[in-house]
Amino acid sequence: MIWQDVCGVDDLQPNSGVCALVDQQQVAIFYLPANNQCYAINNFDPFGHANVLSRGLIGDINGQPVVASPLYKQHFNLQTGVCLEDETVKIPVYGIRINNNRVEVNVQESGNEL
């Protein structure tokens, strides 16, 4: 089983993030209700060495959807995981979809096709 059920859509925080545990991996899930969009990335901040990215502010920089680390404010592209301030740093990105009002994550597949 690749796609795993995580929670209901109601459990997500609109325009903000939550963290889910999937296969012992910490997954940060961000939800933008305006265009029914979800993003899933690893929750670990490679600069601050802490599991905090789900608590970062989300937004867009030059058209790319990003989360800003709550610790030191580096930006990570939510689609590719690449850090905008240091392109050699890339965090894992996971598949995520909404199925019958349930949120499903695929930690083996990178990219997020909805």
Partner: protein
């Protein structure tokens, strides 16, 4: 081995101190052992602002010496001792207290003394002068028993002294020998306008009065008798009839002095002995004594340059002055009396507003020779530049003083000024120096002030400095982008106004009406903050939640490992043993690291996100509420124990601190705000290092504003004195609301005020005198915030839907296994990377 030479400075007044500061900033400091004598019981202080001693400033406030200055630079200062004899052949000096020194170079900075006319009775009781802090103390003592005070002398200093008498609560008279006030700087019409304005303040002015005798009064201690037979009863008599150079020591050692006093100096400020210099008010250059500080400072710089072997000359000084006398604008430039050959005069008088302006122009109408301004100084900077730089006047010179009814600007374009034009006369900063600083990256008034010192003396040039900066930024092609971010092409102030006008209550509405894209970590918290500061809705409401910055999102302060610290409010730092025990029990139960903060409260560290609501439930049950340590908001009101317990306390600082903290708690602002209240001038609460500082005095509360600690500490400015509590609170309401409305993003009160055109005076005019007619609105705005206060934590734990977020995993009760603590000094701390690896190995094994 090279032995150091010895340099002795006689006198530690403003000019002597300025000389020392210039000297130690130059390479010369390594060549000389520096010794200075200071006759007064304290090192140099600001005599120019002496009258502020009576509006609340202390001797320390007036000090011109950075703490530790003498020690740091290895200068020996003999305080309370003066040079008594000099042997120029042996090059030795002996002080009154017997200190004997051999000097290589000697600098006279002995200053001047107030001239007391030899009127019979001039040495009677309560006949005083106005120059030192001791003189002021004598005045204050005399004022306690007297009701009427009279200044003899209506010049610039005399009027300053009159203000001091007025501040002491005396019925005040000014007696002037000349037919008008400030006869040197004013023409007849200007003097008359000035007289009218001074009299409107309740001071009686007598001109053309020659005092011939002082004797016993009937109702008062003294009686002045004038040559025309009139008499005036007065308790206190204050002589302000000019100054005389302190040249007695120079005379004793046979240095050349002028016929009417003053140590004769050349263009290098050398006296008749090439190893001895004289600077400031004791020096006579070209048969002139300069009674202002700026020329004294220029002489000090000349001597430093000359000692260093550089070619430097003192070439005289412009004696133009601009000042506010008791709130009345007065300025004079150059040849005010039109004594120059063929000079033409233009004047403008507005009896209604009490404004008088006079221009003195050369015969060909091309050069400005002089000017007088009363009641409106706004044109001073422009006129002074015309005069000093010989800039050609516009075709109709009177346009410079006539009121303009439209937006047309007749001011001098700063573009026209040469690079050598002096912008700041106190610190001799030229336009060229300012432009270089801008080129080097100083693009704000605050940055320019700290880099060049321009506008940090008397402050008279600040408007001009701003124009130079704006003009130069434009010329250097700086595009000053003030957009908040790529989503909003507005400043924080713009957004605040847009919110007011459009009654906008959500970020989504803001974005739809004025922004683009989805927002970012700059605009979201900024707008979240603006909305909270005005509407004051709970910041975790669904429409606001996604806007909050790291700490606000979970109403706690995130630490490096992703755990949080918790700070309950302890108003005024007052806490009962029971509350302290409750706090300790919570810390113990959740195994939190505890530390006392600088704001007199307790910080509990190491709380996991899922523990926060439990911790707060217990804290709230024990009677605590949110301390807002996570927000850009009012943090603490620190206090000393005050008159309730302290032997020295003048008023109840704790009581006031608690009242203020309860009033303003929860207020969201552009940056964090800290207050403190001290119960007396010993200032144990360190109120002068806070955004709002209050100090109790016998006359009421003194209010200080715009100080801060942190990376760039700033001493707060005295804002108002002797306030009762209601007035104090009214001013603070207005001050805070105005700050919240008009400050930039993350701008603390200090930077906000420094960048404000007009600075402290402008702020006073808005808050105290309601210049903008905004005060009522500002007070209402504050009242709304006060009325809608809620403890954000109490509301949160009572709302199930808000609590859902307070867990690490949305789908599991497991903890974050990356959070690991180790013990240190009996408490927890986050494990470092090495310890963490070790810990995991142990766990696996």
């Amino acid at each position: 081995m090279t032995t150091k030479k010895t340099l002795v400075v006689i006198g530690n007044g403003m000019v002597g101190q300025s000389f020392l500061a210039s000297l130690v900033a130059s390479p010369l400091k390594d060549e000389y052992t520096i010794v200075t004598f200071c006759e007064e019981p304290r090192a140099a202080y600001d005599r120019v602002h002496l009258s502020e001693f009576f509006s609340g400033k202390t001797a320390e406030d007036l000090s011109m010496v950075e703490p530790g200055f003498f020690e740091q630079h290895g200068i020996t200062i003999h305080i309370g001792d003066k040079a008594a004899t000099i042997d120029r052949q042996a090059k030795t000096l002996v002080s009154e207290k017997g200190v004997s020194i051999a000097y290589d170079k000697l600098v006279f900075a002995t200053g001047s003394y107030p001239f007391v006319p030899p009127v019979p009775g001039h040495d009677r009781p309560q006949c005083l002068v106005y120059r030192t802090i001791e003189d002021l103390e004598a005045m204050a003592a005399a004022a306690k028993t007297g009701k009427i005070g009279t200044v003899i002398g209506g010049g610039l200093l005399g009027l300053e002294a009159a203000k001091a008498l007025k501040d002491l609560g005396l019925t005040t008279h000014v007696v002037q020998f000349a037919p008008r006030l400030m006869e040197m700087q004013m023409d007849d019409a200007g003097g008359a306008m000035l007289r009218r304005k001074i009299e409107e303040l309740g001071i009686t002015v007598h001109t053309g009065k020659n005092t011939i005798d002082i004797s016993d009064g009937v109702d008062c201690i003294n009686k002045l008798v004038f040559a025309d037979g009139d008499e005036l009863e007065t308790d206190l008599v204050l002589f302000s009839a000019g100054i005389r150079p302190r040249d007695e020591l120079a005379r004793d050692c046979a240095l050349k002095v002028g016929a009417r006093g003053g140590i004769v100096i050349d263009n290098q400020c050398k006296t008749s002995d090439p190893d001895i210099y004289a600077i400031g008010e004791c020096a006579l250059w070209n048969d002139k004594i300069f009674g202002l500080v700026a020329p004294g400072y220029a002489m000090a710089r000349t001597v430093v340059a000359d000692l260093a072997g550089e070619a430097a000359s003192f070439t005289g000084a412009d004696m133009s002055t601009k000042l506010k006398l008791m709130g009345v604008d007065v300025a004079s430039i150059g040849d005010v009396h039109a004594k120059s050959q063929g000079a033409l005069v233009y004047s403008y008088q507005n009896g209604d507003n009490g404004i008088y302006k006079r221009l003195v122009v050369s015969q060909d109408k091309k050069q400005l020779l002089g000017a007088v301004l009363v009641g409106d100084n706004s044109g001073y900077g422009t006129l002074l530049q015309y005069c000093l730089n010989g800039i050609e006047l516009p075709e109709n010179p009177d346009a410079l003083i006539l009121p303009h009814r439209s937006d047309e600007s007749v001011g001098l374009g700063v573009d026209a000024l040469p690079a050598s034009a002096q912008i700041c006369s106190c610190y001799d900063v030229t336009k060229g120096a300012i432009c270089s600083a801008i080129e080097a990256g100083c693009t704000s008034i605050g940055a320019l002030k700290s880099e060049t010192k321009a506008a940090t003396g008397c402050g008279g040039c600040s408007a001009l400095l701003k124009s130079v900066m704006d003009c130069e930024l434009a010329r250097q092609g700086f595009e000053v982008n003030t957009d908040l971010c790529e989503h909003f092409a507005y400043t924080r102030q713009d957004l605040y106004n847009l919110m007011l006008v459009g009654e906008i209550k959500t970020f989504a509405d803001f974005l739809a009406k004025h922004g683009k894209g989805h927002g970012c970590e700059i605009c979201k918290p900024t707008i979240g903050n603006i909305l909270a500061s005005y509407w004051n809705e709970h910041i975790l409401e669904p429409s606001h939640l996604g806007l909050q910055d790291t700490n606000d999102t979970f109403l706690a302060n995130m630490q490096k490992d992703g755990t949080y610290s918790v700070v309950p409010r302890i108003t005024g730092g007052e806490i009962s043993p029971d509350m302290l025990i409750a706090l300790g029990q919570v810390g113990k139960k959740y195994k939190l690291y505890t530390k006392i903060t600088g704001g007199q409260r307790v910080d509990l560290f190491g709380a996991r996100v899922d523990q926060l609501p439990h911790i707060w439930k217990e804290l709230i049950d024990a009677g605590f509420e949110s301390g807002h340590a996570y927000g850009k908001s009012l943090r603490t009101v620190k206090s000393c124990v005050g008159s309730t317990w302290c032997r020295y306390g003048v008023d109840d600082s704790v009581g006031l601190a608690i009242e203020l903290e309860n009033r303003y708690k929860g207020l969201r602002s552009p940056h964090k705000i800290k207050f403190a209240v001290s119960g007396c001038t010993r200032e144990c609460a360190e109120a002068q290092g806070k955004d709002v500082g209050i100090i109790a005095t016998e006359n009421g509360w003194n209010l200080y504003v715009c100080g801060n600690g942190g990376m760039k500490p700033r001493h707060a400015d005295l804002f108002a004195t002797g306030l009762d509590k209601d007035t104090l609170i009214k001013y603070i309401d207005r001050f805070l609301s105005f700050y919240v409305r008009t400050a930039g993003r993350l701008q603390r009160t200090s930077v906000w005020m420094e960048n404000m055109e007009g600075g402290l005076d402008y702020l006073k005019s808005v808050v105290i005198h309601d210049k903008l007619g905004l005060c009522e609105q500002l007070e209402q705005q504050m009242q709304h915030v006060i009325d809608t206060y809620q403890c954000e934590w109490k509301t949160t734990i009572e709302d199930e839907s808000k609590l859902k977020r307070f867990r690490h995993f949305i789908n599991s009760d497991q903890q974050d296994d990356n959070v690991v603590f180790v013990e240190e000094r009996g408490q927890i701390r986050p494990a470092d990377d090495n310890e963490r690896k070790h810990f995991k190995l142990l766990e696996v094994a």
